[in-house]
């Protein structure tokens, strides 16, 4: 039985979009897949040592389920973003969903390889010291070396 492979290209850095790459990667790894995640653009935020700044905004998020309908001019008030983030985190905890830190740790524990897009690290002038250690820095072409051989390749 040849090992199946999965590649994920993670381009988003909000709380709701941080979960899919880590959940899919950890699940695939648990099922025996060889997994690599390519973090680029805002996905790079998920490589920060401190993930407490990963947030979710109620603004311009019409698909977000809300306890009460919230008009746009309320969504943009100061503090609404922090409140939405806090409420989302409470909900996640209440339902027994692992934290981002935990999921990321589980991925690394199961040998999921993290690759950061060198170009966007330079573009946003990110300091690698703020990122976790076990990350390889490479470009798209290098990533295609792995992505081209995968059974599942996802763009998030």
């Amino acid at each position: 039985m040849t090992t199946k492979k999965m590649a994920i290209i993670a381009t988003k850095g909000t709380l709701d979009m941080a979960y899919p790459p880590f959940i899919l990667a950890s699940t695939a790894a648990a099922l025996g897949y060889e997994v690599q995640i390519f973090f680029t653009f805002y996905g790079l935020q998920l490589l920060r040592k401190d993930l407490s700044d990963v947030m979710i905004s109620p603004l311009a998020n019409p698909a977000m389920p809300m306890p009460i309908p919230m008009p746009v001019f309320v969504q943009m008030l100061p503090g609404m973003e922090s409140m939405a983030t806090m409420m989302m985190k409470q909900k996640l905890k209440k339902h027994g969903v692992a934290s981002l830190e935990e999921l990321r740790e589980m991925c690394l524990d199961m040998d999921v390889k993290f690759v950061a897009c060198q170009m966007t690290v330079d573009l946003f002038e990110f300091d690698k010291a703020e990122f976790i250690g076990n990350v390889e820095y490479a470009g798209a072409s290098a990533f295609f070396g792995f992505a081209g051989e995968t059974d599942i390749c996802l763009f998030v």
Binding site: M1, I23, S26, T27, A29, A30, L31, G32, H95, G96, V97, A98, L103, M106, D109, M110
Partner: protein, 75 residues
């Protein structure tokens, strides 16, 4: 059913039951049985899928008192 190791995943949601099951099995010898308790409804199909895709055997899957109980034999 006899089992060699037990793990309680109550309160944990996807993907924790599966990821932790994999971890628990890693330390076990071939042929040994792991008992997993879960409250996540999704775990029922997930455990079967895990067995199908990893070659481990799901010996039994049942429900007792609102919790799901699985017996997984390591390949």
């Amino acid at each position: 059913m006899n089992f060699d190791k037990e793990f309680d995943a109550s309160g944990m949601s996807c993907p924790l039951p599966i990821v932790k099951t994999k971890k628990a099995l890693a330390d076990m010898e071939s042929g040994k049985v792991l008992k997993v308790i879960a409250t996540d409804v999704g775990a029922v199909k997930d455990m079967q899928a895990f067995a199908d895709q990893t070659g481990n055997t799901l010996l039994a899957s049942s429900e007792a008192g609102g919790k799901f109980v699985f017996f997984m034999k390591k390949k």
